[in-house]
């Protein structure tokens, strides 16, 4: 439990760096990691928010995980 805020802070830092580099492929993966963290905490809204971010960058990057993210968002009732 004590480890979690650290992990979140690290992830946020990595996300900011990836934004600065414009690395959309990496952004897709980092946001998905964020979504997974939120799922572990059963925070569905936060999970959906971060997963949306991940999905958009995955779409832009042509990331192979985009379809899976889309399915996951659909399951959450957040995508068409």
């Amino acid at each position: 439990m004590a480890r979690e805020p650290r992990e979140r802070e690290d992830l946020e830092r990595e996300i900011i760096t990836a934004h600065a580099m414009g690395d959309t492929h990496l952004l897709a993966e980092l946001y998905r990691r964020g979504a997974d963290l939120m799922r572990a905490q059963a925070d569905v809204d936060a999970e959906a928010f971060l997963l949306t971010q991940a999905y958009v960058y995955a779409l832009e990057a042509g990331h192979c995980g985009a379809a899976a993210m889309h399915r996951r968002l659909k399951t959450l009732g957040r995508e068409a």
Binding site: A46, E47, A48, Y57, E60, G62, R78
Partner: protein
């Protein structure tokens, strides 16, 4: 200001009595704006080359008379033109040439479009983490696709959407050059260049259409291509230009480009140059062809985008790079010789007493024919065009 209908009637007279387009067509912004609608948007105008987007996923933004366009090649290799404006808040979608790996993501709120223009994602549109909303119907919010047609690598658009199909619009030109209706191969980076001229786009058309100036402006060319070896090319309402009977390339003693396939014998020595209205200048020779797209950057500045094409992939390969470079240099030198005339004619049109000019019935008929076409486009709907 605006268009003086009496002056347009002067343009519409037979060449022996006609005067040229009045000064306003070159210096009056309100005429330029009417021209935008009536000459460019209502017809098939050239906006770029397919070679500008060589690979699937390549996209490049274009400004066409102030209209932001996006030229791209989709995943199936189809070249498309879209309005480069997001359907959400109207942000410009792509601001520099880029290769799109996946989707077009709007840089503002990240709505995503695929390369067919379909809206694929609308993040947070129903609130944070909620990407759907009953009132956001994605099917209705795809990118606006502009009617386009690719011919010999030139990308034409009909902005108004109601011109005749390209094959009809261009029928007489296609028929004239049906011998050359075969694949052509872009020579690559050594076979293209841009020239920026301080002139209205029409003066570039006019200068390209006539051979009268050759002995004065291109004395070097004239040494082997004399004025009497040239003939006029005229097709009312479509194109005008000139041809030569003595095309004889001499770029190298050892090497020459191969010819386009199955050309009739007349093309051994003939070559033709025509202005296809409104804004593309074309040349065909047995061993290469070129297209010059006139981009009207403003009423008195034009970018001439030149691209040269050959008859086979070999001619576009490394073995012929040196010969291609020589050919490019030859054409560039010729087109550069024309710059001071089109710029000088632009300056000359600030002479308030210039009346549009007197045509030589013998030498200026192709120029007149272009003016006649412009005047016809501009007077199509008199109630709309005439303003005093």
């Amino acid at each position: 200001m605006g268009i003086d209908l009496a002056a347009l009637n002067g343009v519409l007279k037979p060449v022996s009595q006609a005067t040229g387009l009045p000064n306003e067509f070159y210096v009056d912004q309100s005429v330029h704006e009417l021209e935008r609608e009536k000459v460019f948007f209502k017809n098939w105008a050239a906006v770029g080359f397919a070679k500008d987007v060589p690979e699937n996923g390549d996209a490049t933004p274009l400004q066409f008379l102030g209209l932001p366009l996006l030229l791209l090649r989709d995943r199936d290799g189809i070249v498309r033109v879209f309005q480069n404006t997001c359907r959400h808040r109207g942000m410009i979608l792509v601001d520099k040439p880029t290769r799109i790996a996946g989707a077009i993501r709007c840089p503002y709120h990240s709505w995503c479009y695929d390369l067919k223009g379909d809206l694929k994602s609308t993040p947070h549109v129903g609130g944070p983490g909620q990407n759907i909303h009953d009132d956001i119907v994605r099917e209705d919010l795809g990118l606006i696709e502009i009617r386009s047609h690719i011919w010999q690598d030139v990308v034409f658009v009909n902005i108004s959407g109601d011109a005749a199909p390209f094959e009809t619009y261009a029928a007489s030109m296609l028929e004239r050059w049906q011998d050359f209706e075969q694949p052509c191969y872009f020579g690559g980076p050594d076979s293209q260049f841009d020239l920026k001229v301080k002139s209205n786009w029409k003066l570039a058309v006019e200068n390209f259409s006539e051979s009268y100036h050759l002995p004065w402006i291109h004395p070097g060319l004239n040494a082997y291509s004399k004025l009497e070896d040239h003939y006029h090319i005229m097709e009312m309402g479509s194109y005008s230009g000139q041809g030569t009977m003595v095309y004889n390339p001499s770029l190298s003693q050892e090497k020459s480009f191969s010819n386009f396939a199955n050309l009739p014998a007349k093309w051994d020595k003939q070559a033709e140059y025509l202005s296809f209205f409104p804004n593309v200048l074309l040349g065909v020779h047995r061993d290469h062809r070129y297209a010059i797209i006139l981009v009207p950057d403003s009423i008195d500045t034009t970018t001439e985008r030149v691209a040269i094409y050959y008859a086979s992939p070999d001619m576009a390969g490394a073995d012929y790079a040196d010969l291609r470079r020589r050919n490019t240099a030859l054409w560039k030198a010729i087109f550069e010789e024309d710059i001071f005339v089109v710029e000088g004619m632009q300056s000359g049109r600030h002479g308030a007493y210039f009346d549009g000019g007197k045509f030589s019935p013998a030498m200026d008929e192709p120029t007149w024919l272009f003016h006649h076409w412009v005047a016809t486009q501009m007077s199509r709907d008199p109630t709309e065009t005439v303003e005093k």
